[in-house]
């Protein structure tokens, strides 16, 4: 047990007057709101969230069992901070930035309350999340006598694939470099000295603290202009999120939120991934830890873990720290943005954070809003989403970076009308609505096309035109329309039966099925298909959509629809998602041509029919969910099939 602090530092400790769960009230203390306090004999980490008539209300980030009325409460004079600097990459941190892997070695497999007796950490004086002993090679980029301002790059440190720029502090006024030397330094040792305008001397260190609730300032915000390329067809082609934008991913349990977040962590085209497991499963963190060190970063070829920061506050860890974990994640993401890097912040799940707000609000006896959530739920979420974005960082030389937020939401009962989903929808620019029906039909990713949307389409069009395919908007619209028409036709089929609809409607059903099964479906664990470059995606989309013209031409040429659908070319199309290799684009282009030419080729015959009966299956793919329900699997030409609804 740690000794109480020297009396000079905390002259009059306050006293606990009331305690329930994570909420403690203390009297005899004059802290400020947001100040970190240490509660009880075990010096539990807490934060003042309200002050009234000499009583401070504290949310405690650690387990409070055993706390007594009359226990001491000590103010630290500091807000909750994150320590930012080299050594963050590859770490696993809890919501208070404690290094979980190191704790597992030193403290055993379970987490104890009481901060491992580290007083300096508790006071925020020293970094703990980043290894304080490791030495880094610091290369100065400025010279003694140089004038520097806030955010200016003073020097740099290489960590794996990432170059950390050591920046002049954002709250620094104009200053002059007195000293800056090349050094093998730990994050704590000074590598230089600045003299501020008021004559104050400020040492330069590789790591510095930042209050997690305060957005890091930027020089200026930039509009979005390119997508976050994810490798998932349904996202990149239909519902892209812009780099610097925000996507909301709501879905009932087991619909695939975590698989989407983890796919993005693996495949998305960014420099740094910050993954926040907030109130979710310990085994999911263990899985990332088990697989990421051996998975290659698709961009650099290095280990995936080397571009990743994992923040884990699992569901059984103290509730109040869930909020700290998402704020910590955002602050770390902003830190890398300010380095001029592109960052993805993947938060799974923001509902658990909102529930923590509700639980704490309940203990404060606040007047609740909808479903017991505090009235400030929406404004808290908004403040968080607002921190995502593209920006020019403060200081010289100019650096542009971005934070793209992908926030999972876990609506109770899968019902999107609940407050957290609704509040999030107003904040994100893309909605990836996970659909329980699709998940049950093992259509993965189960992103429903009826409810999902992207508000970034117009802003991204130039990028797609220049980098992927100028026809992308048209192709996207064609795919969306096909799916919309499928729904309408199916409504008619439900009324009059499948036989009564015209041939042209049957073509719609057939093409829509190809869009769903040959294009939208993508198995997260398939070695080839898990993520595809946009050029391959668009080539496949072209080939799939060509079936519309092809089938109509075949009908015009006198073939029956059944015969046209039995063409081996379509069977090939159904498997084209598994194609890889150098010539894949050429092969897809050739396939597109042959699909469009169905009218001319018109392969019929029993053998061809058997091949086409394979529908849009993907043989050889492994992993769960390759199974499909009937209807989507109905063989051959039978348009009597119930397509899973695109939305509830």
């Amino acid at each position: 047990m740690s000794e109480p602090r020297a009396a000079t530092e905390a002259p009059v400790p306050g006293r606990v007057v009331r305690a329930a769960g994570a909420i403690v009230r203390a009297a005899g203390l004059a802290p400020s709101v947001g100040e970190v306090v240490l509660v009880g004999e075990r010096r539990l980490f807490g934060e003042v969230i309200r002050l009234e008539e000499g009583v401070a209300t504290v949310q405690v980030y650690e387990e409070t069992a055993g706390l007594c009325v009359g226990d001491p409460v000590v103010a630290t004079g500091r807000p909750l901070v994150a320590w930012l600097g080299p050594g963050l990459l590859g770490t696993v941190l809890d919501g208070l930035e404690r290094p979980l892997r190191r704790l597992a070695e030193t403290e055993g497999p379970h987490l104890a309350a009481g901060g491992a007796g580290d007083d300096d950490r508790a006071a925020g004086d020293r970094p703990v999340g980043i290894d304080a002993h490791r030495r880094w090679t610091f290369t100065p980029l400025r010279r003694p006598g140089d004038r520097v301002g806030p955010g200016d790059v003073l020097g740099e440190v290489q960590e794996g694939p990432i170059r950390h720029r050591v920046l002049a502090q954002a709250d620094l006024g104009p200053a002059v470099v007195l000293e800056l030397r090349e050094a093998e330094a730990t994050v704590e040792s000074a590598v230089g000295l600045l003299e501020c305008a008021d004559g104050r001397l400020q040492p330069v260190r590789l790591a510095s603290p930042w209050p997690v609730r305060r957005p890091r300032p930027v020089a200026r915000r930039l509009p979005v202009e390119r997508p976050l390329v994810t490798g998932l067809r349904v996202l990149d082609m239909l519902f892209p999120v812009a780099e610097g934008g925000a996507a909301v991913v709501p879905g009932g349990f087991g619909t695939g939120k975590t698989v989407v977040e983890q796919s993005l962590a693996r495949w998305s085209d960014v420099d740094v991934v910050v993954y926040v497991g907030c109130g979710e499963r310990g085994n999911e963190v263990a899985e990332l830890l088990a697989t990421f060190p051996s998975l290659a970063d698709p961009r650099t070829g290095g280990a995936l873990l080397d571009r990743t920061v994992l923040i884990a506050n699992t569901s059984n860890m103290p509730v109040a720290a869930r909020e700290a974990s998402v704020q910590l994640g955002m602050t770390v993401a902003e830190y890398f943005r300010d380095q001029g890097l592109r960052v993805a912040l993947l938060a799974d799940s923001t509902s658990r954070w909102a529930e923590a707000l509700r639980e704490i609000g309940g203990r404060l006896e606040e007047l609740p809003g909808e479903e017991g959530y505090p009235a400030y739920l929406a404004s808290r979420l908004a403040a968080f989403y607002e921190r995502a974005g593209r920006a020019v960082a403060l200081g010289a030389p100019e650096r542009t970076g971005s934070v793209t937020l992908v926030a999972a939401v876990s609506p109770p009962g899968g019902d999107f009308s609940e407050p957290v989903t609704q509040a999030s929808l107003g904040l994100g620019g893309a909605l990836w609505a996970l659909d329980t029906e699709l998940a049950h039909a093992r259509h993965f990713p189960a992103i429903g096309w009826t409810q999902s949307y992207s508000l970034y389409l117009d802003a991204l069009e130039p990028w797609y035109a220049a980098n992927v395919d100028p026809a992308w908007p048209r192709l996207r619209t064609a795919a969306m329309e096909t799916l919309a028409r499928e729904r309408k036709v199916l409504d008619v089929v439900a009324l009059v039966g499948a036989d009564a609809i015209p041939e042209s409607d049957k073509v719609v059903l057939a093409v829509a099925r190809l869009v769903r099964e040959a294009f939208l479906r993508q198995h997260a664990y398939d070695p080839v298909d898990a993520a595809r470059p946009p050029a391959v995606q668009v080539a496949l989309l072209r080939a799939v959509l060509a079936a519309d013209a092809g089938l109509r031409a075949a009908l015009d040429a006198g073939a029956t629809l059944e015969a046209a659908l039995a063409s081996p070319v379509l069977a090939e199309l159904a498997r084209a998602n598994a194609w890889s290799g150098e010539d894949v684009l050429a092969r897809l282009a050739d396939l597109e041509r042959r699909v469009a030419d169905l009218g001319a080729a018109g392969g019929t015959g029993a053998e061809a029919r058997a091949v086409a009966a394979a529908g849009a299956e993907t043989p050889g793919a492994t992993g769960p969910g390759m199974a499909e329900v009937a209807g989507t699997a109905a063989a051959g030409a039978g348009p009597v099939e119930a397509a899973p609804e695109g939305s509830a």
Partner: protein, 458 residues
């Protein structure tokens, strides 16, 4: 231990399972206290401290307590349970006291039943297949060591029987067996007896410890039962290196107890009157499942969850689904048709299955066979619905065989009856029904697999 005979008299308020009393100096949050009424001592836990008062939940309920004559005594500690492997083969009440004729338990260790959260970085990712002997689970929703996999059930469905079969049947490669801890929360004596009888008849009774809080036992004690069971489970698994299965039944009754307590505390309710922290509370139970890196032993948790009205969106099954790693779902329809166990395969899922199956663990073709069974069965079910509209005559010959396949799959493959099947037998049963379909229908299976199991007739 801070033994104390300090007793403070004076009750401020009694409300449902809650008493508000004058606190004793030094009394801590979550501490176990004795609530001493006229001629009787009960047990409670401190939920809240405020000035001179303590809010205490009383496990035995407050019925019969009086405002004037009730007092409180601190114990100085949270509720702790003495644990030992000698507890296997024994029966305990909801607070962990023996209720059979056996000797007193000499504890190896005395542990806070609240447990401490596992550091996620200390976890080992679950990868070892458990052969339960139940075909539908082993092949299609495989259980993995350290997983938490609930059984979703409805009133009258044989979930406890299935849980008992899994517990008795569970084997690791090399025929390693499991020990089981059965925590009954608000179930009937009949169900609890059934569960235990299953163990006696299979001569496994020395491999099970039972904690009983039956339907007529104090409601608030239900909050303690799973914690006692999991605490013993952690000791056996991580202290002694055993493979442990904890069956928690019925989680709905647990949730209702929590709701009762929350209502008495006048907390702001979340959905359907359940407290907003139901998710967190359940997670602190289920997340105790797992494996630790560098240690033998595992804790696998099988919660049994009733769905009122067979409604899977009810908060208790819904939040359970949000915490656990998949689900086994029982079907009233299959049960009605005499299929035993009545597992509805389509909504079943094991999320950690992939890591536990395949070459070197089960069989290389495990995933493919599972996908083929799932796809063909799903298609058969769809055709069944269709037939009610268009009649069977309208189906093609292949479709008629798919229809027959779906029936056989239910009766022969899922409905295996009482017998335990090894994984080999499960695969044989799978092939026996798959061979009912034309080989050309089995499109998910590559030729080399088919050539071995379904040779073309020559």
């Amino acid at each position: 231990m801070r033994l104390s005979s300090v007793r403070q008299l004076g009750v401020d308020r009694i409300a449902g399972p809650i008493v508000v009393l004058r606190r004793v100096a030094g009394m801590g949050l979550d501490e176990e206290v004795l609530v001493v009424g006229p001629g009787e001592t009960r047990h409670g836990r401190v939920l809240e401290l405020s000035g001179d008062l303590a809010v205490v939940q009383v496990y035995e309920g407050t019925f019969g307590l009086e405002v004037g004559s009730t007092g409180i005594e601190p114990t100085g500690e949270p509720f702790r349970l003495g644990v030992s492997d000698a507890m296997l083969g024994r029966v305990f009440d909801g607070r962990g006291r023996p209720v059979d004729d056996g000797p007193a338990i000499v504890a190896d260790r005395v542990l806070d039943v609240g447990g401490a959260p596992m550091n996620p970085a200390a976890r080992d990712h679950p990868v070892n297949f458990i052969e339960t002997g139940v075909s539908a689970i082993d092949l299609l929703a495989s259980l993995v060591r350290g997983q938490k996999l609930p059984i979703f059930t409805g009133p009258g469905l044989p979930a406890s029987t299935l849980a008992a079969r899994i517990a008795i049947g569970a084997r690791l490669p090399g025929d390693e067996r499991f020990v089981t801890i059965f925590a009954a929360m608000g179930v009937t004596r009949r169900e609890a007896d059934e569960f235990r009888d299953a163990f006696s008849s299979s001569a496994s009774v020395e491999r099970i410890a039972v904690f009983l809080n039956l339907a007529d036992d104090p409601v608030i004690e239900r909050l303690l039962v799973p914690r006692c069971a999991l605490t013993l489970g952690e000791h056996l698994a991580f202290g002694l290196g055993l493979d442990v299965l904890v069956v928690l039944t019925d989680v709905l009754a647990y949730g209702e107890a929590l709701r009762e307590l929350s209502t008495a505390r006048e907390e702001i309710p979340g959905r359907r009157g359940y407290p907003g922290y139901l998710y967190t509370d359940l997670a602190t139970l289920f997340e105790r499942a797992g494996r630790l890196r560098g240690r033998p032993g595992s804790l696998t948790v099988l919660p049994v969850v009733s769905m009122p009205d067979d409604d899977i969106t009810h908060p208790v099954p819904d939040l359970t689904g949000y915490i656990t790693e998949g689900q086994i779902v029982l079907s009233r329809d299959l049960h009605g048709r005499g299929i035993d166990p009545p597992i509805d395969v389509l909504p079943c899922l094991s999320r950690v299955m992939n890591a536990g199956i395949g070459a070197g663990r089960t069989r290389a073709e495990h995933r493919l066979v599972a996908d083929q069974l799932y796809a063909s069965y799903a298609r058969g079910c769809e055709l069944r619905r269709l037939v009610t509209v268009i009649g069977e005559a309208a189906l093609s010959p292949v479709e008629q065989r798919l229809l027959a396949f779906a029936d056989e799959f239910e009766t022969r493959f899922v409905g295996q009856g009482r017998a335990r099947r090894t994984l080999d037998e499960t695969f044989e049963a799978a092939w026996a029904v798959l061979r009912r379909l034309p080989r050309s229908e089995l499109r998910r299976l590559p030729d080399d697999v088919l050539d071995r199991a379904y040779p073309e007739p020559r």
